[in-house]
Symmetry: C2
Subunit: 450 residues, 2 copies
């Protein structure tokens, strides 16, 4: 029995619990509210009937909120929900219509940093388990919750946690922390994630800012950094670092088939972002292939000198650029870092400092695994239809889950494609939260009873 | 009679008046405290016996504080002191040891934004006139003070003021708002200033920041701006905009002679800024020639995306660079703006927005003018020795003074070369304030009695 009626009846409680979660800031990049949010998540799990505890690795590392429910009917099969309680920084604050942690409800939307990513997703998993427990007194399979607090800074310790608690975390399938829903309300059943390499390049010239009249003599670090950075890629987005693509395999025929079937509303996408063309003037299948299998070198931040209003004739003492590289399968982060270092050195930029924030390999689950159809069928049923996707354009620490737990990972969820995650005015759609909660109930049922 | 004893006796009052001036913030770039500072300057002038009024052009324009003293002994000759009461923004605040507007005195130094530039300089002019008046009841020549409030944002209205008050401002010589003093305590008698063109280049791509996973499709404005900006100059500092140097004459033999005689302590300069080499690896005479006659294209600020701590995987919606070009004689700002626009267009960067903050032409006073030796002699006497300089590396609105008032302009003052003007921990040296005040008394005397 799928407890859809329970989900409908108690939807207001789901919304109110989500608002409570949003109102507790938990910005991992700034270590803001992390512990408080972990405790709050633990309380919400327990309120829903899920046994819960905080797992710790060492001091200074965000705890994992662990939750568990044993199934009476199917004690031999275990499904894991992987989520995170931390959020991206909310800057720039002045572009938010409401305060970023308001959790304000307007019609079908709930606004706030984390509304979708990932507090909205998390609440659907919790409420689906609650619905089963309150309706039947049981769950269709064993359930494990692994809710981490460092996802938005690159899940630096998830691998260590997975290794330390390998036995505790053992499972037969993982539902990933999010899943996109497209403009036509079709959820995407995602079988993979790209990797990520986040670095900071910096140049320091003089020991302090100087009057810009001295630019005839004192070198400008912003110029130097621009020259260095400009060697990294061409204007079509191709990365110019030697051997960057060397280990990569082309997309398989099967992958290409799935990609070809995948719908992509280019017009709606462009309209949403107010743009008229894509990087490298990609169109149609090429644009879809890029989303699934394209590697990028993205400037996430460039900072040097005076950023305020008006004019300031200053020669900055230093310049800094934050770059994220999206990696595709077989691009090992460590290898790519050496390639980046070698590149800068060979181009004469040994003075450019490199700080590596984190590296994460890409991961994909085989589309022939039975878990795939169990999830796909549930998604089709609860949303009317769904879309299979070889790899998400984004990154998550899927690689260590696949490697250490040896379990297939699939992403499916409530994240409306244009819900402005990582941007001002992020929101969650209540209709999607409801459908996703029901979908999770069906996944548990399909999975437990297979 | 030069009232040097008065200057010595009342030095504490000079220091305390300067502290009062520093403690009144007057950041023209942010329109912070401008009117309050103008009134304060007026009060200080009046306290020193100088008739004073605020002159206005129109609403929204900072007033000029005008001061005047008529000479009984030499009513036919008029010397003008041009200064400014506005200051540069104090950012970055966290690099100041004391609050930026503290006016804190430590030994021989007074710290604060504007301590030297230009409140320190201004107080020496005021106190020199006060010394004459209090000691002899007269001044050696008529004195006019023109103290503006928009110098640090490019003196946008000084030309209009000079035109409107052309008759009121008529004079036979102008003492400029500052003068450098080198590491060996030698004041520089400066005969010219470079021009300045301050622009903001910007690229806007999508209507909002996006998740950086979408960088496979959405163009990154920071990349685009880097590509555009990187076409503007080569790594040796040479500006690559077509015809940028076209109208410029080479330095004359006389100029070169003066430059050759000018001392420049390369080692001390490098040590002060913690650098080991200069732009384009310039050395010796080439470095000195660059300070006098070099044009620059300086990045004063580059801003895009996330600037905070840690990692944020964001694709910025816009990018912005603030650039100041130092201009040398015959580089007309308007012409150079068209050349910049033409350059960006011809390189395919028509999408790069250009905002011009202001343009200012370079100006030089002929070294054979009698005013030059009157000032040089006074400087030699009060400081022991002084240095003649064809043109300062910095910019000031000297061009309209030379053109509209038809008067020679010379810069001489108390600005210690390493006093961190425009930077954190700006300070004024009390010994130099004292010498400069005495020097101003001698200039008035040499000038009035010539």
């Amino acid at each position: 029995m799928i407890p859809t009626k329970y989900v409908d009846t108690y939807l207001d409680e789901l919304v109110s619990d989500l608002q409570t979660l949003i109102r507790q800031p938990s910005v991992s990049a700034k270590n803001e509210g992390i512990e408080k949010c972990a405790s709050l998540v633990q309380k919400i799990l327990q309120k829903s009937g899920i046994k819960s505890e905080l797992l710790r690795l060492k001091k200074g590392v965000a705890p994992i909120v662990y939750g568990e429910v044993k199934s009476k009917q199917n004690p031999g099969k275990t499904l894991m929900f992987y989520n995170h309680y931390d959020v991206q920084p909310a800057e720039p604050f002045d572009l938010w219509d409401d305060p970023p942690f308001s959790g304000r409800k307007k019609g079908n939307k709930i606004f706030g940093r984390g509304a979708t990513d990932d507090k909205g997703e998390l609440i659907t998993r919790i409420k689906s388990v609650e619905a089963c427990l309150k309706t039947t007194g049981d769950v269709p399979c064993n359930i494990k919750f692994v809710i981490e607090g460092e996802e938005e800074t690159g899940s630096a310790h998830i691998e260590d946690y997975l290794k330390k608690y390998k036995k505790k975390f053992s499972c037969d399938g993982v539902i990933w922390e999010f899943g996109y829903v497209d403009a036509k309300n079709r959820p995407i059943v995602g079988l993979g994630m790209k990797g990520l390499l986040f670095v900071e390049l910096s140049v320091k010239e003089s020991i302090r800012d100087a009057h810009s009249s001295l630019a005839v003599l004192i070198k400008n670090p912003a110029w130097r950094l621009i020259e260095a950075v400009n060697t990294l890629r061409d204007s079509d987005g191709k990365i110019l670092i030697k051997d960057w693509y060397k280990d990569v395999s082309p997309l398989s025929k099967n992958d290409l088939n799935i990609i070809q079937k995948e719908p992509f509303d280019e017009t709606a996408f462009k309209k949403e972002f107010g743009i008229t063309s894509f990087v490298g003037d990609k169109k149609g299948l090429d644009a879809k292939k890029a989303l699934v299998g394209g590697a990028t070198c993205n400037i996430a931040g460039f900072v040097s000198g005076y950023a305020g209003d008006g004019a300031k004739t200053v020669l900055p003492g230093s310049a800094l650029v934050k770059i994220d590289f999206r990696l595709i399968p077989k691009m090992g982060p460590k290898k790519q870092i050496s390639r980046l270092k070698r590149h800068l050195k060979s181009k004469g930029f040994s003075d450019v400092g490199i700080k590596v924030y984190h590296g994460e390999a890409a991961a994909r689950t085989d589309s022939s695994h039975p878990f795939v159809s169990q999830v796909k069928d549930a998604a089709d049923e609860s949303f009317g239809k769904s879309i299979l996707n070889v790899s998400n354009a984004g990154t998550g620490p899927m690689y260590p889950f696949v490697e250490i737990l040896n379990a297939p990972c699939i992403s499916i969820g409530s994240t409306y494609m244009f819900s402005r995650i990582h941007s001002p005015n992020e929101f969650a759609r209540i209709d999607l939260l409801k459908k996703t909660t029901k979908c999770m109930c069906m996944i548990m049922s399909n999975f437990g009873n297979a």
